[in-house]
Symmetry: C2
Amino acid sequence: MRYNRITPEIAASLSEIVGENFVIYNDPERLEPYSHDEIPEKKYAAMPEAVVRPRTADEISRIMKLANEFRFPVTPRGAGSGLSGGAVPIHGGIVLHCDRMNEILELDKENMMLTVEPGVVANDINEFLKPHGLFYAGYPMSMETCYIGGNVAENAGGGKAVKYGVTGRYVLGLETVMPNGDIVWFGGKLIKDVTGYNMIQLMTGSEGTLGIFSKIVLKLIPLPRYQVDLLCLFKSSQEAINIVPRIITGTGIIPTGIEFMDRTACREACEYLNESIPYQDSGAMVIITVDGASRENVESEYETLGEMCMENGAIEVYVADNVTTSERIWKVRRNIGEAYNVISRRQSGEDIVVPPAAMAQMVEKLSQLAQNFGVMIPCFGHAGDGNLHARIVSDPKWSDEKWHQVLPEILERLYKLTSELGGSISGEHGIGHKRKNYMPMFVSDEYLNILKSIKKSLDPNFILNPGKIFDSL
Amino acid sequence: MRYNRITPEIAASLSEIVGENFVIYNDPERLEPYSHDEIPEKKYAAMPEAVVRPRTADEISRIMKLANEFRFPVTPRGAGSGLSGGAVPIHGGIVLHCDRMNEILELDKENMMLTVEPGVVANDINEFLKPHGLFYAGYPMSMETCYIGGNVAENAGGGKAVKYGVTGRYVLGLETVMPNGDIVWFGGKLIKDVTGYNMIQLMTGSEGTLGIFSKIVLKLIPLPRYQVDLLCLFKSSQEAINIVPRIITGTGIIPTGIEFMDRTACREACEYLNESIPYQDSGAMVIITVDGASRENVESEYETLGEMCMENGAIEVYVADNVTTSERIWKVRRNIGEAYNVISRRQSGEDIVVPPAAMAQMVEKLSQLAQNFGVMIPCFGHAGDGNLHARIVSDPKWSDEKWHQVLPEILERLYKLTSELGGSISGEHGIGHKRKNYMPMFVSDEYLNILKSIKKSLDPNFILNPGKIFDSL
């Protein structure tokens, strides 16, 4: 697939559509921030030829029509907090930045639904909802910065998914600009709807390759009035991870979230934050969150869960039943990634997912892998979902050459182990272009051909975010 | 699109694939049961030319390849309990019946997952799971007869969807025979997975037009140890339905299900069953179900909910806290359809869905509609989801001619009212061929073109269940 360059004439047409203040062109310094997402490695970056910041669906529609006419690629971008290179314009063309489409459009309290534009920051949604006693239960770890549009595009997971599921569960309606410029509504203010194919869930997680969202209708739930986090310390990663599949089967309780951090991940985050949660005597920890509408129910649930952990080898279970203590624990959990960025920029943040009961084996294999290759693989993630953020971090003494030589071997090995356990390549970060070459280790050619057929049927010119998930044809 | 007839040669090839005992051909009497689903009206029926009952994915694959070679349509069929004509072979060809693929293949207790074949009866799944303390939370009203494969194909809803969601939430893996005969796995034993497009949710609810499922991996939950149903009587339909959107917003509790029955629906079902639940003094009733892992939590929740109903105009709230009483109530709810089949076969069972807060208006409009046209429209359904099974029943004194003349007018009017309230044409029964002509009242041409593009990309010869959801091209 060959694309045309963004000429001054095309740039002028783009300015005509969105206003010249909202086009960046011929300005490398201002274009540079749009060349990468949160992957620290330079090799996944690529410069856009222009950045365009539309305000309306109609403007996006006109941009898509122009792109089809002149055959240049369009790469949509939210907050750029992704971890798979999804917002990186690897074939050049324009980055379509949704930052100006950032209004909360309507709170419908009676229906418990919220309509937002894609550029609203995820956390702002819940700050807005709190006084109304309502809650949006999508909860990615980057919620302080990420946009809801990106959450939908990636079908973001997060720390509350065991009980509440991932982003897709809360998307009821999508006004979408299709690759050909058509503006189409999928769904609406409906809790259930089987009118036609489930386009909402096809679009959710399509990584910006099938459409650009201009309005999103979210399902809300009552704000859980009580929440408690249990910080459960175990002697070893094995003992900690072993408890995870037993939590639900053993108690009948479905907690809000079950997170895992090994000791090194926790230590680095604590040092980075100058925080002191009591990890020193433990080899790994599990955070179990419980929430609900009644204090008594939450109490009885966390007591059952805490006892269950103590009976299964926990050294100690700390109860964080107030916002301050909870926030201290979660801040550590959320900042593990940042902490390792300080140690070495040479790293590869993986997002593997395995059947929950295979996690103990996976953690053991990751530890052997780290030893064998002489790297660090701190391990943390959404253990309740089988989703482990194994982060391969270079020995700081290594040269760039050595790192780039060894990393592909490690990844190949890591993915092979994951695949052997029935796992998959990404639980929530997406494929983007970072992982696309490894897709054949997990899915069949027939599977990939199906994805490509769907892409081609909706975007025959491969205009929208080409080269993501699979190579453009 | 023109199809070829099933010749004796093709029938012989089919026999070669599945064995001659499992092909029905040239035998109108044995073919007739496959000409319809549970829609009582004859006009939605169509005879198959042959019925084929494969045992394996490989056999289905060979059938699909044969169908593409000789261009005959294949209509997959589960238990035939559908209500949209989805399993009716309107272009002739063969019905592919999944009844022999009826094994529960594997219970994976540690991962809380179950792998089944498509022909397993939904209720048998839960009977099988009960001794293990596990539960499959998809719960269609026809669960005593319907097949899980059909549930997935239609993305079936049911009576527990308010808390547990619909079928799709529990589908983790699908071995699927694609229209071209490829056998492809989507997903697996993974709670979260964003590897490629969300093919599982595209396939779920695709009404047998995009693929035939040969293995299904279901997510299980702990069997809720305690369950209570509240039967809440109200003076009028309006008062009953008014409470529905307030149940969750007012208490912060998300009940398992919130069902609605108006007085006439309840009375007919009671008479049909010779049952006597205390509906006499009321105009409508709401069934609120609460379940959970602890008796105390369930009790505190149903007390809060019961008080809430009493404060909002309920005449009486009966508590059904044992299986026998619960089953009496639910049997009434499940048999409303059957009861009306006795009154008149001239009826049209609709499945509209509206935003929950618009239900009171919808119920009022349905009542006016019934009066205006001189028909009965008993109203019942999954009120917590905004899903109303408005069933248009002919005055028994009408002639067939009159009914067929008036029904399209009623439907047109009914759908217009639904659309005006932001509703949609089907909450859980699907479009099939019964509702496809009304799709343009709810969705745009662009929307329909997207569905058709996807269909064409995966089934270029329009072999698989053609003429459902939209006309074959």
